[in-house]
C-alpha cells in the first residue's frame, strides 16, 4: 500500500473548535500524518513539548490563552523555536501587518475561511513533504 506524504511526520493542531479539530484530524490523517490535537491554549505547550511535532497548526483566537502568546513562547524556547508554525486566523489586517515579521520567523499564515487544498498544500510545504 502506498504511503501518503505525511508518513512519519507529526502535526499538532491547536484550535478551540471541536468540529475544526475533527475535520483537520480526518484530512491530515488521510494523508498519513500523525495528528495530535489541543482543544484550547492551556495544555497546548505541554503537548508540543512532549510531542516535538514537525509542524504546529495554531489558531490565534483561543478562549483561554492568546495564540500570539503560545507562538511567542514557542519562539523563545530553544527546544521548539525551529518548529514550523502555520497560524490560522480570520483577522486579515492583523495578519497582513505582521506578514514580514512572521515569514522571517518561519511562520506561515492561513486566512480563514480557507480551502482544504490550501491547508494541505501549506502543510506539505512547511513540513518539507511536498516532493
Amino acid at each position: 500500500m502506498e504511503r501518503g506524504p505525511g508518513f512519519g511526520k507529526t502535526i499538532v493542531v491547536v484550535n478551540d473548535s471541536p468540529e475544526l479539530l475533527e475535520l483537520a484530524e480526518l484530512l491530515l490523517t488521510d494523508e498519513d500524518y500523525d495528528v495530535k490535537v489541543a482543544l484550547a491554549g492551556r495544555g497546548a505547550l505541554d503537548l508540543i513539548r512532549t510531542t516535538r511535532p514537525d509542524l504546529i497548526v495554531l489558531d490565534i483566537r483561543l478562549p483561554d490563552v492568546s495564540g500570539w502568546d503560545i507562538l511567542q513562547a514557542l519562539k523563545l524556547d530553544p527546544n521548539t523555536s525551529s518548529i514550523p508554525v502555520l497560524v490560522c486566523s480570520a483577522a486579515v489586517q492583523e495578519l497582513r501587518s505582521l506578514e514580514g515579521q512572521l515569514s522571517r520567523m518561519g511562520v506561515d499564515v492561513l486566512i480563514k475561511p480557507f480551502a482544504i487544498d490550501t491547508l494541505l498544500d501549506k502543510v506539505r510545504i512547511l513540513i518539507g513533504s511536498d516532493g
Binding site: S66, W68, D69, L76, Q93, E94, S97, Q101
Partner: protein, 130 residues
C-alpha cells in the same frame, strides 16, 4: 568588573515569564520576574531596575495602568520600559503613556536581547519607539 544590568519582567503568562527570564539571564542580565503591575510596583519601592520589560494585558494591574502609575512616581519615571504586545493597535492603547520602546509579538530571542540592551544603554533606537 562592570555592573550587571537589572531587569524587571512583568508578565502574567507563566510560560512566557519563565522563558523571558531564562533568555535574559542567559544574555547576562540580572532578572526579577513578577506576574502583574501591582507586584512590579512593590518591587520598585525597594529597588530601581535598569529597565522594565512589560506585558500589556495582565490581571490585577495591567500594562497601561502600570505606565500611568510610572508617570506619577518620580523615582520610576526615569526607568526605561520596553512594552511587549501583540495588540495590533498598541499605539492607541499606549497613547500618552510614554513607554521607551515597543516590541510587537512575535519577536525572536535576538530582537528581545537587543531591545533590552538598548534600553540599558540609554538608546531608544531599537524596537519600535513610541
Amino acid at each position: 568588573m562592570a555592573d550587571v544590568n537589572q531587569i524587571l519582567i512583568v508578565e502574567d503568562n507563566d510560560d512566557l515569564r519563565t522563558l523571558l527570564r531564562d533568555v535574559l539571564v542567559d544574555a547576562g542580565f540580572e532578572v526579577v520576574a513578577v506576574a502583574n503591575g501591582a507586584e512590579a510596583l512593590e518591587i520598585v519601592r525597594h529597588s530601581r531596575p535598569s529597565a522594565i520589560v512589560l506585558d500589556l494585558m495582565m490581571p490585577v494591574m495591567d500594562g497601561p495602568s502600570f505606565l500611568r502609575e510610572r508617570r506619577r512616581t518620580p523615582a520610576l519615571a526615569s526607568v526605561p520600559v520596553l512594552v511587549l504586545t501583540a495588540h495590533p493597535f498598541h499605539h492607541r492603547v499606549l497613547d500618552g503613556l510614554s513607554p521607551t520602546a515597543v516590541l510587537r509579538k512575535p519577536y525572536d530571542v535576538d530582537e528581545l536581547v537587543a531591545a533590552v540592551q538598548a534600553l540599558c544603554d540609554g538608546e531608544t533606537g531599537r524596537g519600535q519607539v513610541c
